[in-house]
Symmetry: C2
Subunit: 255 residues, 2 copies
């Protein structure tokens, strides 16, 4: 019996036990999560971490295009991205899709639902992505006993507010070129935070999604990328991006 066949059978077996497989393959814990320091930069004691551990759920990775939650879904949890990436978006009733954010490993999404008890945006995986589910009720109870945790959560929400304000300023006055530059610089610095190459990476979102985030049209996004490529500020090959002159990009971003 060849090894390939063994693997294929093993895969089938795991599939048939989807729930169990999620239990066996994604049950790493918070203490040894390589994002730990970034996702929860708290001086958590061991006992506290154990408690947090107890409530966090890890499930099967989402496939590209799959939704984590939908607008109007009841709010039950916030989600920490473990790997891959997602977008959050709202659909205006004329059908325009407004992307409100992209989320990468270590970032948390779903806060929009706390206020109204249902989500006001949808979240969709841009590529295979795994997330930790943090049931909110349990989290709230837990944070009653752990001041660190409570403060941290608020810091995360506050940071989201601050980032939104950045985006608002961008959409309000910046030119198409400034928007694209700021966007790329943002992606780059988030990559850096993950200790991945900050100059060379693959876009997980389409030009359309970028345009719906930056308040531009696909054509404009495409044109600007072409221009930056011609100017040798970027190397653009389909979704592969290499930033050649970050200083220039930062300059035009002007933020």
């Amino acid at each position: 019996m060849g090894e390939a066949q063994v693997n294929s059978q093993a895969a089938k077996f795991l599939e048939s036990l989807a729930v169990e497989s999620s239990a066996t393959r994604f049950n790493d814990n918070c203490s040894n999560c390589r994002l730990g320091a970034f996702c929860l930069p708290l001086a958590l004691r061991h006992r506290e971490l154990d408690e947090l551990e107890r409530i966090v759920q890890r499930s099967q990775p989402l496939q590209r295009g799959q939704h984590l939650f939908w607008e109007r879904d009841e709010f039950q949890a916030v989600y920490a991205v473990r790997s891959g990436s997602l977008k959050a978006y709202q659909t205006s009733h004329e059908g325009h899709e407004q992307v409100t954010g992209f989320y990468f490993p270590g970032e948390i999404l779903g806060f929009d639902g706390i206020g109204t008890n249902f989500h006001v945006s949808s979240a969709q995986a841009l590529e295979t992505a795994s997330v930790c589910t943090i049931p909110f009720d349990a989290f709230e109870d837990l944070s009653q006993e752990m001041p660190h945790l409570q403060r941290h959560l608020m810091q995360l929400m506050s940071r989201e507010i601050a980032e939104d304000h950045q985006l608002i300023a961008l959409l309000s006055k910046a030119t198409a070129e400034q928007r694209m530059s700021a966007f790329l610089i943002g992606l780059s610095s988030r990559r850096g935070r993950e200790n991945l190459s900050a100059t060379k990476f693959r876009l997980s979102m389409s030009r359309i999604e970028i345009s719906n985030y930056l308040g531009l049209t696909v054509e404009t996004v495409s044109r600007i990328l072409s221009r930056l490529h011609k100017q040798k500020i970027l190397k653009v090959d389909k979704r592969e991006i290499e930033i050649l002159q970050k200083d220039v990009l930062k300059e035009t971003a002007g933020f």
Copy 2:
């Protein structure tokens, strides 16, 4: 005497109260604050309210133009508006002022500072305004013992996030007319929430401030107001606004 007239008189009475209270009664306590149910819609027990009371500080009203806090100030408190109105804004380093929000009685501002421990926007009174200062450390300690309070705070932050997302969608795709309509509808419904006339009011912000909020120029704001006036959708007399056809406005706002 028609009912409309009665309502309008009641509204005028309440308005006059608001002015008086800002001038003379700013040291009332939470239990008898007429905004109580709106600002803190919690099922707070008496004892809890007393505790909250203990940490909230009420100071002299701010005069028009005075700042509540500045960008880069150390974050120490969040603020509940008692009367009057304020704007929050950031200044890009090319000098453009981006207004990120207007705040009216019962609304809370200052959340942007929690994440970084210093404010990332400035807050300035648009007219005489009184606020309650809620020192954040004390508030956090208090909310450790009061789950209601903690959840409420997060709801307020979450709501701010949701509102920001609305603004983002607006700035991203809406026409100048849609932006103005949405803005006016927003003001109107907030007035309604305060039990003041939702159709007739005075703008506390200048055209310039509106334009810096909506991502337009003063000229455009002015032109659109003139147009809406000519079309008899609004009555505009300097800063006095009367909404004549709210349905039309809502229609064009499309939200």
